[in-house]
Each structure stands twice: as C-alpha cells, then as structure tokens.
Symmetry: C2
Subunit: 209 residues, 2 copies
C-alpha cells in the first residue's frame, strides 16, 4: 500500500495527481499550511527530518523528492507513463523530469523570494537582475518547447508532465505570468482537462474545507 | 560515441568523473568561464539554448540536466553503478540523485547569492534568515545521513555519489563549511581517493593550463 503525506498547495499535487491517474489504491494523510506564515506544519518533521511534502511510505520505506517518487511509482505501477528505455524519448523524459526541479524551479523560487525583498523595500544590487534574466531564459525555453505539442514528451502523457505541471501552476496561476508564456498557459489548460487532474484538484479543494 | 561539452568548475565535473569511472570512449569539448565574470562562455548556447554545462551528445540527441545524464549513462553503460530495481536501495538511489539538485543545491545557491548581496552592503530583510535556516537543515540532514557510511547508498559507489560530490565540493571547498559538516568532508575525502576521481581532476587541471 502507498501512503502519501500530502500538504495542500505544494509539490505534493504532482503525486496526488499521479496516484489518481495510476488507479493504484493509496492512503492520503492531509496536512495544511499555517494560515499566517504559509509554512508547512511541524508535524511533517515526524515523518521525515526535512519536514516537507510530498513524502510517501511504501514497503516500510519513507521517500522524499517528488522527482524520485514520480520516477519510481511510474516504473513500478504505471509503465505506460514512461517511454521505452530504447526510444529517443526516454532521454527527453529524464531530462524534463530533472529540468522541472533544477533548471526551472530555481529561478521561479528566486523570483518569488526577490519579490518578497523588493516588496519589503530592500534595494537589491545583484539578485533582481540575475533572477529576471534567468527566469526569462528558462521559462522562455520551456514555453518554446511546448509550442505545437500536447504533452512535453512524445504524443502522450508521461511522468515529465506531472513534474512540469507544478512549474506551470506556479508560473501561470500564482505568479500570473501566463500572458508572457502562452504555450505554458495552454499546456496547463490541456492538463487541467484530464479526468485524473480534475479528481486531484477536487480532493485538494475538499481538504481545504 | 558520447560527447561531453565540459565547462571547468561546474556540475559537469560529475559527468567527467562518471565517464572516467565507466571507461566508455568519449570526446571532451572544453569550455572555460570568463575570468572576470565567472560566467559560462556564450559559445555553450550554440549547443543548447540554456547555455549551460554539462551537455552531452549521444545518438544525435543533445541532453542537459546532470541528473538525467547520470541516470541515463549508468543505466545504459554502467549498470553496476545502479542498485537493482527490486532492491530497497533503488528508492534511496533515486531519492539522493534528486536530492542533490533540488533540496540541496537550492539553499547552497541561495547562500552564495545572499553572500554576494550582503558583501555589497545590501540589508536583506527575509532572504538571509530563511537561507541560513534552510542551509543548516538540509546540509545537516545530508551530513547525518553520511555518518558511518562509505557511500550514500549501500556499500558501493553509485550514481547518487556522482550527484552529491558536486554538493560536497561546493560546500566543503568553495564555501569552506567542512568543519561544520565533518561527515560530508570525510565523504569528499573518500571519493577523492578513487582512481577515476583523480583522473577527472587531473583532466580539469590540464584544461585550466
């Protein structure tokens, strides 16, 4: 049995969506952010010292890192969401899975953090210019890669889409940059039309009630 | 044939070391940082729009993201560096590969960036406190995980070590935090004693000459 320790409004949405898509039975344990600080609750540290989400429990092991969880669950339970190892798409699959958290999320987080600083009146000397250039380069690259495509790899849904969806939600919905990255915005709309995505978002909303 | 576009003093050291460990023939194309700005040369953008390193060419495909490159090369050319999929170590293997670039490198980069700001006299209101707390938590977790271990997964060298080595070099050598994280420092010393590592570092030094 798979147990997901799920924090609302976090990268854990990737795994909630994946579990809904896979159809494998799972147990959901819910966590909510502190309403004032928006930080994860301290109770997540009882599951794993890093105190973050997603965390899964499986075969008596506790596993963090959404990229690792996506790769593992798919390879074991839903190989239809992974290109064949011998196909050229397999390299692209791995690349986009890693891209989502390394190349993409670093400038996304930097932009959110530098906005906190500038909103608080800090005069940044280096970070604002660096961040703007990196964000434009990386998100522009992703946006171009999504032009004329339904999913990011091949013609079908894959684990890479589960990873990129969180980038798209953050950039399009939270940061309101959809107009600047129209292919990313349209991609998010296509993903949002999938039944498994709708079920995952419905679960998130119910957990918030 | 594998071609590595290698930028000195970058995450590309992971792949140079892996290629030396694998023993598979490869072509090395060298790039140097701008001596003044320490940025990657613009010529890397001719290979891939993100303009970063490592980049490999293989079977006519261009692939970025060091985590993806490590996973793919090992699975195809050096399966001895990957635990069996059926073993509990496989989950740990994937977790540490993803941890290196997501959980670990984000606070490492934030610490380097905030040091640039504070050295330039910026009075940060949020980022310095947040960064210090995240860095201590994540590097402390890694340091504890390395206590009483030779390698990070099982008893043998694996792809996860190639990923974590760059974290260790940055934290121990570049940021001089080795005394604070003694197990990470000792781990780096153990890796540095391996023949393949010595050959990779010798190549880096020769490329700098």
């Amino acid at each position: 049995m798979i147990t997901l320790h799920h924090l609302n409004a976090s990268r854990s949405l990737r795994i909630l969506w994946l579990l809904e898509e896979m159809g494998e039975p799972y147990t959901l344990i819910r966590y909510q952010r502190d309403p004032a600080t928006r930080l994860a609750p301290a109770s997540l540290k009882n599951i794993h010292p890093l105190g973050k989400s997603p965390v899964i429990e499986l075969d008596g092991q506790v596993l963090v890192e959404s990229g690792a969880i996506v790769e593992y669950l798919i390879r074991r339970f839903a190989p239809r969401l992974e290109p064949a190892f011998s196909s050229p798409d397999y390299l692209k699959y791995l690349q986009w899975i890693h891209f989502a958290e390394s190349s993409a999320m670093v400038p996304v987080l930097l932009k959110l953090f530098t906005q906190f600083e500038t909103n608080a009146g800090t005069q940044l000397k280096f970070l604002d210019g660096y961040t703007r250039a990196e964000f434009d380069k990386v998100l522009g690259y992703l946006d171009t890669a999504l032009e004329n495509r339904t999913f990011i790899v091949g013609d079908t849904l894959s684990g890479a889409d589960f990873m990129l969806a969180f980038v798209a939600i953050t950039v399009v919905e939270q940061m309101k940059c959809g107009a600047q990255y129209p292919h990313l915005q349209a991609y998010l709309q296509r993903l949002a039309a999938l039944d498994s995505w709708k079920r995952a978002l419905k679960l998130e909303r119910e957990l918030d009630e």
